[in-house]
């Protein structure tokens, strides 16, 4: 998957879990400051992304995913490793 494809799919997951319109979920957005995704919703997004992309996002890695772009990059790298 290209990063654009990952972003599209990831944005869809975020919309499903948080109700935030997928169009708002762009690479430069901060989960906390721009999208108001709280820490527990981040866990729900992460576990959904693990299932969808067939990867693992450990708690320590999750804490470092500040922006949507961080998450997409992590998923892309983890997907290649998998």
């Amino acid at each position: 998957m290209s990063n654009d494809e990952i972003l599209t799919e990831f944005a869809r997951l975020v919309q499903e879990i948080t109700g935030i319109n997928a169009a708002q979920v762009t690479a430069d957005k901060s989960f906390t400051n721009d999208l108001d995704v709280d820490s527990l919703s981040m866990v729900e997004v992460a576990t959904a992304a693990e299932d969808r992309f067939g990867i693992a996002i450990p708690d320590d890695a999750l804490k470092n995913l500040k922006t949507v772009g961080d998450a997409v990059d992590f998923i892309a790298k983890a997907g290649v490793a998998a």
Partner: protein, 312 residues
């Protein structure tokens, strides 16, 4: 050997002081909407200086014994599930037994944190079935406000104080368990109170563990009891966070069950949360005699224990 054990009564102690979300210290930087959206909690009870783990336990257990018409002198064993005693030693169970007037009872504490009441209930049922005891008092009691860092909003918004108790006696048919329990000490750092310190909680990590593990534990507890989740009348999980409770209810498929939501105005009272919820639901009629209730404790350790009981 007796064929079974059952709960004959519940009792509770809720501290009179109600602390709403907007009453919490300003240093936390939180407000009512922020706390409600993350936890489902609107208010909690906080114990006063004259309310201790022991005194709250004795009040809750005394009410349970009175409700069942049992003389405290007939109690053989007092099990106190708590992780917030002010003293490392002694434990509190012996003081609870003395306060009750249970003069011939054995007594010990159980520190399995938020899973403690379910461990205690299972141990009580085993003691009755084995003939070690005829009447057992199981208490979950916490004064976690003593152990809060009131500047740490990851933990201080969540917890409350209180005590709940159950009396267990022999029965012609089994009405408690079997228990499905487990532990994972590799996760010991997720929730802890270090020596001389305050409570630390890694909320997101606990949330992830809970939302990915509890459904399976709950289903296994139902299977052990010979029923399916659809047969449950009540689901009473440890009241950790309403979002965990909601996620569990969704994944479990207990479509006919009332799900306990005592956390909303009680907060997370650790070992006390399940008996507090049961006592209230029994008193207000949501739990009726003969109802089958899944109890599911989980917390620091990590430790967990689930079992199906019949409501007295």
């Amino acid at each position: 050997m007796t064929s079974g054990a059952r709960i004959v009564a519940f009792g509770e102690h809720r501290p009179p002081r109600v602390v709403g979300n907007d009453d919490l210290p300003a240093a936390l930087g939180t407000d009512d909407a922020w706390i409600q959206s993350r936890t489902g909690i609107r208010s909690r009870r906080i114990a006063g200086p004259d309310e201790s783990v022991v005194s709250m336990s004795a009040d809750a257990a005394g009410k349970a014994l009175a409700g069942a018409g049992i003389d405290p002198a007939d109690v053989d064993l007092v099990l106190l599930a708590t992780c917030s005693m002010p003293t490392q030693v002694p434990g509190g169970a012996a003081q609870v037994a003395s306060a009750l007037g249970a003069r011939s009872a054995g007594a010990f504490d159980i520190n399995a944190a938020c899973a403690g009441f379910c461990y205690g209930l299972s141990a009580a049922a085993d003691a009755v079935r084995a003939g070690t005891a005829r009447t057992v008092v199981v208490v979950g009691s916490e004064k976690l406000s003593d152990w809060m860092d009131w500047t740490d909003r990851r933990s201080a918004i969540l917890f409350g104080d209180g005590a709940g108790a159950a009396v267990v006696q022999a029965a012609s048919k089994p009405s408690i368990g079997p228990v499905v329990w487990g532990s994972d000490g590799t996760l010991s750092s997720l929730i802890d109170i270090p020596a001389g310190g305050k409570l630390n909680l890694d909320g997101p990590a606990v949330f992830r563990w809970a939302t990915t593990s509890l459904g399976d534990i709950a289903r296994r507890a139902c299977t052990a009891a010979g029923i399916t989740p659809a047969d449950l009348d009540l689901v009473v999980p440890h009241q950790a966070n309403l979002r965990i409770i909601t996620a569990l209810a969704r994944s479990l498929g207990a479509t006919n069950a009332v799900v306990a939501d005592d956390i909303v105005d009680t907060g997370n009272t650790s070992a006390a949360s399940i008996p507090l919820a049961l006592a209230r639901m029994t008193a207000d009629g949501r739990a009726r005699p003969g109802d089958r209730a899944l109890l599911l404790g989980f917390g620091a350790g990590m430790t967990w224990a689930g079992l199906v009981i019949e409501v007295p």
